[in-house]
Symmetry: C2
Subunit: 107 residues, 2 copies
DNA sequence: CAGGATCCCAGATGATACTG
DNA sequence: CAGTATCATCTGGGATCCTG
Protein backbone atom coordinates (compact mmCIF):
# COMPACT_ATOMS: atom_id res chain seq x y z
CA UNK A 1 0.00 0.00 0.00
CA UNK A 2 1.92 3.00 1.19
CA UNK A 3 5.63 2.64 1.41
CA UNK A 4 6.02 5.49 3.81
CA UNK A 5 5.06 4.33 7.27
CA UNK A 6 3.71 6.71 9.92
CA UNK A 7 5.88 7.25 12.96
CA UNK A 8 3.17 6.03 15.32
CA UNK A 9 2.98 2.22 15.51
CA UNK A 10 -0.78 2.31 15.96
CA UNK A 11 -1.16 4.37 12.80
CA UNK A 12 1.13 2.01 10.96
CA UNK A 13 -1.12 -0.88 11.81
CA UNK A 14 -4.17 1.12 10.83
CA UNK A 15 -2.63 1.91 7.49
CA UNK A 16 -2.26 -1.77 6.75
CA UNK A 17 -5.50 -3.26 8.02
CA UNK A 18 -8.05 -0.51 8.38
CA UNK A 19 -9.87 -1.15 5.12
CA UNK A 20 -13.35 -2.54 5.39
CA UNK A 21 -12.45 -6.11 4.50
CA UNK A 22 -8.86 -6.67 5.52
CA UNK A 23 -9.56 -7.61 9.10
CA UNK A 24 -12.15 -10.11 7.95
CA UNK A 25 -9.76 -11.50 5.37
CA UNK A 26 -7.27 -12.03 8.17
CA UNK A 27 -9.92 -13.60 10.36
CA UNK A 28 -10.69 -16.14 7.67
CA UNK A 29 -7.16 -16.84 6.47
CA UNK A 30 -6.03 -17.41 10.04
CA UNK A 31 -8.03 -20.60 9.71
CA UNK A 32 -5.81 -21.75 6.87
CA UNK A 33 -5.32 -21.49 3.13
CA UNK A 34 -8.33 -20.63 1.00
CA UNK A 35 -9.05 -20.36 -2.67
CA UNK A 36 -10.26 -17.07 -4.05
CA UNK A 37 -13.85 -18.22 -4.34
CA UNK A 38 -13.90 -19.79 -0.91
CA UNK A 39 -12.57 -16.65 0.66
CA UNK A 40 -15.11 -14.59 -1.23
CA UNK A 41 -17.97 -16.68 0.07
CA UNK A 42 -16.68 -16.81 3.61
CA UNK A 43 -16.55 -13.03 3.73
CA UNK A 44 -20.17 -12.58 2.87
CA UNK A 45 -20.67 -10.05 0.12
CA UNK A 46 -17.48 -8.61 -1.29
CA UNK A 47 -17.24 -7.82 -4.93
CA UNK A 48 -14.45 -9.48 -6.88
CA UNK A 49 -12.84 -6.18 -7.63
CA UNK A 50 -12.61 -5.12 -4.04
CA UNK A 51 -11.49 -8.49 -2.79
CA UNK A 52 -8.80 -8.65 -5.43
CA UNK A 53 -7.65 -5.13 -4.65
CA UNK A 54 -7.44 -5.82 -0.94
CA UNK A 55 -5.56 -9.06 -1.47
CA UNK A 56 -3.10 -7.37 -3.80
CA UNK A 57 -2.37 -4.70 -1.26
CA UNK A 58 -1.94 -7.22 1.50
CA UNK A 59 0.37 -9.20 -0.73
CA UNK A 60 2.38 -6.09 -1.44
CA UNK A 61 2.51 -5.33 2.27
CA UNK A 62 3.83 -8.80 2.98
CA UNK A 63 0.78 -10.05 4.85
CA UNK A 64 -0.60 -12.48 2.32
CA UNK A 65 0.91 -15.09 0.06
CA UNK A 66 -0.60 -15.75 -3.34
CA UNK A 67 -0.04 -19.06 -5.05
CA UNK A 68 -1.18 -19.58 -8.62
CA UNK A 69 -1.61 -23.08 -10.03
CA UNK A 70 -1.01 -23.29 -13.77
CA UNK A 71 -4.22 -25.14 -14.44
CA UNK A 72 -7.39 -24.73 -16.42
CA UNK A 73 -9.66 -23.59 -14.96
CA UNK A 74 -7.42 -21.32 -12.92
CA UNK A 75 -6.83 -21.91 -9.28
CA UNK A 76 -5.37 -19.45 -6.84
CA UNK A 77 -4.78 -20.06 -3.19
CA UNK A 78 -4.29 -17.42 -0.54
CA UNK A 79 -2.57 -17.88 2.76
CA UNK A 80 -0.96 -15.71 5.41
CA UNK A 81 2.75 -15.05 5.52
CA UNK A 82 4.52 -15.18 8.86
CA UNK A 83 4.01 -11.45 9.16
CA UNK A 84 0.35 -11.92 8.43
CA UNK A 85 0.04 -14.67 11.01
CA UNK A 86 1.68 -12.43 13.55
CA UNK A 87 -1.47 -10.32 13.44
CA UNK A 88 -3.34 -13.06 15.22
CA UNK A 89 -3.12 -11.35 18.64
CA UNK A 90 -4.74 -8.26 17.17
CA UNK A 91 -7.61 -10.21 15.69
CA UNK A 92 -7.99 -12.24 18.85
CA UNK A 93 -8.11 -9.10 20.94
CA UNK A 94 -10.84 -7.78 18.70
CA UNK A 95 -12.72 -11.05 18.91
CA UNK A 96 -12.55 -11.12 22.69
CA UNK A 97 -13.63 -7.55 23.07
CA UNK A 98 -16.47 -7.88 20.59
CA UNK A 99 -17.65 -10.95 22.36
CA UNK A 100 -17.84 -9.17 25.70
CA UNK A 101 -19.49 -6.17 24.17
CA UNK A 102 -22.17 -8.34 22.65
CA UNK A 103 -22.78 -9.94 26.01
CA UNK A 104 -23.05 -6.56 27.72
CA UNK A 105 -25.56 -5.45 25.18
CA UNK A 106 -27.67 -8.54 25.60
CA UNK A 107 -27.85 -7.76 29.30
CA UNK B 1 -23.82 3.81 15.98
CA UNK B 2 -25.74 0.80 14.83
CA UNK B 3 -28.00 -0.84 17.33
CA UNK B 4 -28.03 -4.13 15.50
CA UNK B 5 -24.79 -5.95 16.17
CA UNK B 6 -23.33 -8.48 13.75
CA UNK B 7 -23.18 -12.08 14.91
CA UNK B 8 -19.41 -12.25 14.51
CA UNK B 9 -17.53 -10.68 17.42
CA UNK B 10 -14.79 -9.45 15.14
CA UNK B 11 -17.30 -7.68 12.97
CA UNK B 12 -18.93 -6.18 16.02
CA UNK B 13 -15.64 -4.64 17.04
CA UNK B 14 -15.06 -3.40 13.52
CA UNK B 15 -18.44 -1.77 13.47
CA UNK B 16 -17.55 0.25 16.53
CA UNK B 17 -13.98 1.29 15.89
CA UNK B 18 -13.26 0.94 12.20
CA UNK B 19 -13.75 4.60 11.31
CA UNK B 20 -10.65 6.46 10.33
CA UNK B 21 -10.22 8.33 13.60
CA UNK B 22 -11.75 6.20 16.32
CA UNK B 23 -8.71 4.06 17.00
CA UNK B 24 -6.58 7.16 17.30
CA UNK B 25 -9.12 8.77 19.61
CA UNK B 26 -8.89 5.68 21.79
CA UNK B 27 -5.10 5.76 21.66
CA UNK B 28 -5.09 9.33 22.93
CA UNK B 29 -7.86 9.04 25.49
CA UNK B 30 -6.23 5.95 26.98
CA UNK B 31 -3.68 8.43 28.26
CA UNK B 32 -6.36 10.24 30.24
CA UNK B 33 -9.06 12.88 29.98
CA UNK B 34 -8.67 15.50 27.28
CA UNK B 35 -10.50 18.64 26.29
CA UNK B 36 -11.96 18.86 22.82
CA UNK B 37 -9.22 21.12 21.56
CA UNK B 38 -6.45 19.07 23.08
CA UNK B 39 -7.79 15.92 21.53
CA UNK B 40 -8.12 17.65 18.20
CA UNK B 41 -4.51 18.74 18.24
CA UNK B 42 -3.20 15.41 19.43
CA UNK B 43 -4.90 13.65 16.54
CA UNK B 44 -3.19 15.74 13.92
CA UNK B 45 -5.61 17.04 11.34
CA UNK B 46 -9.23 16.16 11.98
CA UNK B 47 -11.91 18.66 11.16
CA UNK B 48 -14.18 19.72 13.99
CA UNK B 49 -17.17 18.24 12.29
CA UNK B 50 -15.66 14.82 11.90
CA UNK B 51 -14.19 14.74 15.36
CA UNK B 52 -17.50 15.75 16.87
CA UNK B 53 -19.35 13.14 14.85
CA UNK B 54 -16.95 10.39 15.88
CA UNK B 55 -17.10 11.36 19.53
CA UNK B 56 -20.88 11.45 19.46
CA UNK B 57 -21.04 7.95 18.02
CA UNK B 58 -18.56 6.65 20.53
CA UNK B 59 -20.56 8.26 23.28
CA UNK B 60 -23.70 6.62 21.98
CA UNK B 61 -21.90 3.30 21.82
CA UNK B 62 -20.85 3.66 25.42
CA UNK B 63 -17.13 4.01 24.77
CA UNK B 64 -16.67 7.66 25.61
CA UNK B 65 -17.87 9.92 28.37
CA UNK B 66 -18.59 13.57 27.66
CA UNK B 67 -18.53 16.09 30.45
CA UNK B 68 -19.67 19.64 29.86
CA UNK B 69 -18.69 22.42 32.23
CA UNK B 70 -21.22 25.26 32.41
CA UNK B 71 -18.64 27.93 31.87
CA UNK B 72 -17.84 30.71 29.47
CA UNK B 73 -15.94 30.05 27.35
CA UNK B 74 -17.25 26.51 27.08
CA UNK B 75 -15.24 23.59 28.25
CA UNK B 76 -15.87 19.98 27.40
CA UNK B 77 -13.81 17.07 28.57
CA UNK B 78 -13.73 13.64 27.02
CA UNK B 79 -12.70 10.45 28.73
CA UNK B 80 -13.15 6.73 28.24
CA UNK B 81 -15.87 4.76 29.96
CA UNK B 82 -15.00 1.40 31.46
CA UNK B 83 -16.12 -0.22 28.24
CA UNK B 84 -13.88 2.14 26.34
CA UNK B 85 -10.94 1.41 28.57
CA UNK B 86 -11.49 -2.29 28.03
CA UNK B 87 -10.35 -1.73 24.46
CA UNK B 88 -6.84 -1.16 25.70
CA UNK B 89 -5.68 -4.70 24.82
CA UNK B 90 -6.81 -4.16 21.24
CA UNK B 91 -4.93 -0.89 20.91
CA UNK B 92 -1.89 -2.37 22.62
CA UNK B 93 -1.91 -5.33 20.27
CA UNK B 94 -1.99 -2.93 17.35
CA UNK B 95 0.81 -0.88 18.84
CA UNK B 96 3.00 -3.92 19.39
CA UNK B 97 2.43 -5.29 15.95
CA UNK B 98 2.97 -1.94 14.25
CA UNK B 99 6.16 -1.51 16.16
CA UNK B 100 7.53 -4.83 14.99
CA UNK B 101 6.41 -4.22 11.45
CA UNK B 102 8.25 -0.91 11.40
CA UNK B 103 11.37 -2.63 12.65
CA UNK B 104 11.12 -5.32 9.98
CA UNK B 105 10.78 -2.68 7.32
CA UNK B 106 13.77 -0.78 8.54
CA UNK B 107 15.82 -3.97 8.17
C1' DC C 1 -12.48 -19.85 -11.78
C1' DA C 2 -10.03 -15.83 -11.05
C1' DG C 3 -9.72 -11.29 -12.18
C1' DG C 4 -9.16 -7.21 -15.49
C1' DA C 5 -11.73 -3.07 -17.21
C1' DT C 6 -15.61 0.35 -16.66
C1' DC C 7 -19.07 3.02 -14.86
C1' DC C 8 -21.36 4.61 -10.80
C1' DC C 9 -22.51 5.85 -6.07
C1' DA C 10 -22.95 6.67 -1.00
C1' DG C 11 -21.10 7.88 2.74
C1' DA C 12 -17.07 9.37 5.19
C1' DT C 13 -14.14 13.27 5.24
C1' DG C 14 -12.61 18.05 4.58
C1' DA C 15 -12.92 23.36 4.27
C1' DT C 16 -15.28 27.38 5.52
C1' DA C 17 -18.28 30.44 7.85
C1' DC C 18 -21.01 31.39 11.82
C1' DT C 19 -22.50 31.38 17.02
C1' DG C 20 -23.79 30.75 22.20
C1' DC D 1 -13.87 27.12 23.11
C1' DA D 2 -16.70 23.87 21.28
C1' DG D 3 -19.59 23.30 18.60
C1' DT D 4 -23.51 23.59 14.29
C1' DA D 5 -24.58 24.26 9.43
C1' DT D 6 -23.29 23.92 4.45
C1' DC D 7 -21.08 22.88 0.61
C1' DA D 8 -17.42 20.51 -1.84
C1' DT D 9 -14.66 16.35 -2.43
C1' DC D 10 -12.86 12.01 -2.67
C1' DT D 11 -12.29 7.22 -2.63
C1' DG D 12 -13.48 2.69 -1.08
C1' DG D 13 -16.86 -0.11 -2.49
C1' DG D 14 -20.48 -2.16 -5.60
C1' DA D 15 -22.55 -3.79 -10.17
C1' DT D 16 -21.81 -5.42 -14.66
C1' DC D 17 -19.54 -7.19 -18.64
C1' DC D 18 -15.71 -9.55 -20.64
C1' DT D 19 -11.81 -13.15 -21.04
C1' DG D 20 -7.60 -16.50 -20.69
Amino acid sequence: MQDELPACPVETTLLLISDKWKVLILRDLLGGTLRFGELRRSLGSVSQKVLTANLRQMEHDGLVHRKVYPEVPPRVEYSLTETGKSLRPVIEAMRDWGSNYQAERAA
